[in-house]
Symmetry: D2
Subunit: 414 residues, 4 copies
């Protein structure tokens, strides 16, 4: 009997899949649960898989791999999807895919399986990541296959018939996904973009109105783009992120309400919470403003958008991404220093930046004594800077009486 | 005697210039004061110019021209410099240049003059704008010329000798510029980027800690990208911005602390306040997320960066800008609708968006009944979407044993 | 009986479709043949459609629409796919789609049909264009449906059974498509990228070795980006392109051998001939070098790539394209003038450019007497231009002993 | 007496500088002549420097450094300025600057000097490169200083007075610069862009009309982006380029006539010859089309433009360049294989490409038997690909009666 490794979350869909896949495909299911900081009781999930009928159930702590190989590279890249979403779920999928493939190889499985629907981005991230890492492995996506045939009611009926535990409590009206880097929430009343997200949509952050009246200050140290300490205490990445999620969340920081373009051609309203991600991106950007040149910042802003799209669109394991990461690594050589952040009632404000490699040079910037900027240089600079524009005006626009950018004609008064 | 039209602010530098230019250049000075919402007493400025010795003194109310021809086009473009600065001063300079030229033509002047130093961006904006609008006009910049010869002390001495009023009160330690679209503050203790800006640096906004505990909500209506009403009341642009500056400022919204790349090759720390600009950009972006396609958003994000740099760098009157504005105009055809914004203790949060042209389609996005999205399409989509990446992995990376993006090798377990 | 409008070329596939669609879909077929300069006998194609069984057969001369609304806009945009392909077929598809929709509306048809396969780009261009112009119309693609079931042999058998004429002569080994703007050729031996295309692959051009030993010169006049005259003779677009195809083709100009990325995720080897397109793009670019500023050229180069991809990828009727076209139109205001081109044995060389709006200013460029360039300006310009780089070297690289770009260390000798 | 290291070409300007610098600056001149393949008699240049009065004269063979550290990196990057100029001179300047600095360090000099004028790009490249490598070194540019004071006639007079040899023969009317990677020619009749460059402007290539009637074929092998062999013979870079310059030049390949945007704000007409560069770039691009994915090609095309501008604009030693080079290096991992090029009467045509890492997969591309492409996938792909455009048409354009891209309205016939 062929084997399939199933990414198992413990929820209803993948629980049903443990039964359904053997029926449909005649394969033996190995349940793989990857801990990316999802806050579930992993041992009971493992036991549930076996109870339902998995041939084997494995739990892997992926938190450190997640931070080292996915989260921090994305932070260094400045990868924020459409200027809003720090990509928590999108970063988790390639790692789970990688561990599915790794487990499939170790177990001699012929296929892997995941619980994504046919409408979201996650199916793409799983399918494409597996295709890149192991083009020979079959990918099974039961929920996508059920689209036509198995409604929610039928699924529950199927579960009851097969002795699969069905959650008795009224389910949340939202669809939620959680890992260390963020929490996402969609569906329910959020599907109306005119409606303000209700407090029930949030799970990690207090409402800004209920946050403390006094700000918290935290100093974050970076070493070549990677956060390594909080308030002088060196911390591993997992701990650092966990603490910041807690601290910033208490101050109402990290709520993101986003009308988002999915890869599959539709817009979707998503509510995210990412206290650590929001704080770290803000701090990292502030440090880059100090340590990257103007040209580097413009190039990197463009690259950041490319990488955010790459990650969102399931193309983590592409050569294009690999090339752009080489670029990003090079930019981070001098992104070392400390950033002081103020957390207050939903605001995350950078209030101090310092770096041994600062390109801000007070002796050039100051209006005070000590100014070493050469003021005589400006005249020549401006002359050549404006020369093309002056030539163009002289030769093209003014002779044609063209009015500059919809202003009333200058020459009428001439 | 040749005439020169001087952009006159009423401050010490341009007051001294009224005396100094005739001495140095033998020209008659016409003082032009343009009101862009700077909150000064314009009539007394006009009188001061005449008292000091201007041959003529003119005050022009430029507020509506400023909003219609500079501020709202920049808003539609999404022009925010380096992701932070809404470009208030930068947008005012080309309009003042335009009015200098217009006045020079009307008065038969041979030159125009401005009070910018040799180290900032404003000199570039004035010089280049005038070069584009009237390549034959000479531009005189007294403060830039003084760089070597006239220190602050000498300037005051010169003023006293010539009967030019010198402010008796201790000056603010900051250098400040104000118009309708924002207030900028630099120099003094702000020159140390590790120091949090003191409250004295701010003039338009209350500190978030002292803002009301309860949020204010405001609904902004847009018509093809232009804000036209607040809470259902149609307002002209000047009034709308003035009200929003007031309202959002009361809630601590609009403070921006920015380490900025100047055109002249240095980094500089700037503190801005722009309550209306911050609120309107946030609302406009939210409406664009709803009414522009994914592809349009990506193209426009790139254009927005180009336009922000163009405006910042003094190239408002360039053909390149004109072309990009034609692009922006086209994008705004359906950016019509209303946006509900919540103002709370420094936070400006969009909490509702609605448009008759919304590309968000609940029947495609919903996870509820009524879903009309074709789930069967995804499989084919993903197959072709991932095909290039799969081919590349199969042909290039996997045969070479290349490890995907620094993860431990997959195949070791294979 | 519902009606379907079929894009009918007269070839075997669409001839079979005239019979097959009624069988399969129970619809009445209206054959629409659009003349984009394909050099076929259109009247006999029309008769063939009726003979086979079309309920109606329509021929439309689309050449002028093609040139005015598709070819010249693409020329003004500088749209060349992957730096090689002037997009002849890709430009024709949206026009045929438009005429299919127009005819469907006029005839009250419920569907349109086309003969594209399931592997190429054309199916996307047809399907997506129709979806944009008439989202309610069904699109039928018989050849794509046949993929599994109907092999070439079965198709011929089906044709013979149904009295559909099958070409008796040995078919060309290549798959060929032709319109005014170019000829494409693929398949057969071309599928081996190590093989030089044989002469039989070409139909419009003489081999450079057999072209005349003496060059031909032609002067092309442009009016705001549109070619309007050859050697002083004003010509309509269709005639101008036809003449240039003939003239440049006689000199071996316009052969393009391209390994191309298709939208559907594969690479494909294509051989194109486009004598007029190659000549006109070269001339247009040369005129733009003279009449656009440096900044405009960089912006437009980026836009040109976006538009080329948009056209290739079937997104002609997108809002994104519409916005970018507004940009392009603005850029062409001063692209007026004449360009002298030399055609010689496969070479198309611009040897002279002239424009009343030329930004090339001899008095600024000359090394001769008459130089009006201000040489003293350069020093100040360079000082500020190089300042960021100097600061970065001083602060970051040199103190770290970083060697600039893999050169042997400078300081070792210091 | 302080020392200055002068980049000495042996021409009149730098010969005069050997005398003039000590007079003006009281410094001792060390003449440094760098051989980048300029075809001059270097020993006699060295002797001339000493004769005129240099304290020391050094000749350095920089050809291999030039190829390894400047030319091949630019080739891998695809760096071609404004789509035309392979950057020969622009690539040589940072190396000469580097060697000036290296020599200055070795000799304990306080300054370096170069012979560039105040109007070209080269002054920027020298000044900025030195500022980056050795911010403390003074840069002297005698010809730029002479701008006002020393005309050509005065310079010759000065030379004669100081015993500096003045070329007796009538000078070429052109200004020429040569290194291994190309030859540039400007000024004289070339300053009229309507004039075809006369044959005297060319020095390395035969006119296409006089090239052999029969083509030459050459097969170029690349190893990770670097050309390593011609027709199976492994060659060092200098020899390979030299041979290709010779071979391609004999076939009239490599002539470039370019109206170019200089950094200093003017347009300039330049005639280049670069037989090897043109051939190698064509071959390298063809190999990249085979070995890079569609996404990689688009990203790299953008990077290539950035790098070309960086090199042209004198920013070789910038951190921005360093970052982008890291990107380029990553892209070249699989750019290995061979390219067959046909040289014929000015044409350089790629006629065959082969790579062990080819992403062109015949089993996916073929229309013949053996097709493994999944034709059924296309339908789902197109559905989602076109969905955003369909939604936008349905919601925005069609309801407003908007006509798609200036075509006559579809619905009029509906």
């Amino acid at each position: 009997m062929d084997k399939v490794v199933l990414a198992y979350s413990g929820g209803l869909d993948t629980s049903v899949a443990i039964k359904w896949i053997p029926e449909k495909y005649g394969m033996e299911v190995i349940a793989l649960t990857v801990d990316l900081g999802s806050e579930h009781d992993l041992e009971s999930i493992r036991e549930k898989a076996l109870t339902i009928g998995a041939a084997k159930a494995i739990v892997v702590d992926g938190k450190q791999m997640f931070v080292d190989h996915f989260v921090f590279p994305a932070l260094k890249a400045g990868a924020i999807y459409e200027g809003a979403y720090p990509l928590a779920t999108a970063l988790g999928r390639p790692l789970i895919s990688y561990l599915l493939v790794k487990t499939a190889r170790a177990e001699g499985a012929k296929a892997v399986a995941h619980g994504s629907t046919g409408k979201g981005n996650d199916q793409v991230r799983f399918d494409v990541s597996v295709a890149a890492l192991a083009p020979d492995l079959k990918v099974i996506a039961p929920v996508r296959e059920w689209a036509a045939e198995m409604t929610r009611d039928k699924e529950i009926e199927y579960a009851q018939q097969h002795g699969i535990p069905v959650p008795v409590t009224a389910e949340t009206p939202f669809s939620i996904d959680v890992n260390l880097w963020g929490r996402s929430c969609e569906a329910g009343v959020l599907e109306d973009p005119w409606t303000e997200p209700p407090e029930e949509a949030y799970g990690w952050t207090v409402p800004p109105t209920q946050a403390p009246d006094e700000p918290a200050y935290v100093t974050i140290e970076f070493d070549r783009g990677i956060p390594v300490a909080l308030d002088g205490e060196r911390l591993d990445g997992v701990t650092l992120i966990t603490r910041l999620n807690d601290l910033a969340g208490q101050h109402g920081v990290g709520r993101i309400d986003h009308l988002e373009n999915r890869l599959v051609g539709i817009k979707s309203r998503e509510v995210y919470e990412a206290p650590a991600a929001v704080t770290l991106h803000a701090a990292h950007q502030a440090l880059e403003k100090m340590t990257l040149s103007k040209d580097q910042m413009r190039t990197k802003a463009w690259v950041a958008q490319q990488i955010a799209d790459i990650i969102y669109n399931g193309l983590w394991f592409s050569a294009n991404h690999q090339d752009l990461r080489a670029y990003v690594e090079s930019t981070q050589r001098y992104v070392t220093g400390k950033v002081r952040v103020k957390l207050l009632k939903g605001n995350c404000t950078v209030v101090g930046v310092d770096s041994p490699h600062s390109l801000y040079q007070k002796h050039l910037a100051t209006y005070d004594t000590g100014d070493q900027f050469d003021h005589t240089a400006a005249l020549g600079f401006i002359k050549l800077w404006g020369l093309p524009l002056q030539t163009q005006a002289r030769v093209q626009m003014l002779p044609q009486g063209e009015e500059p950018l919809s202003l009333p004609s200058v020459k009428a008064d001439g």
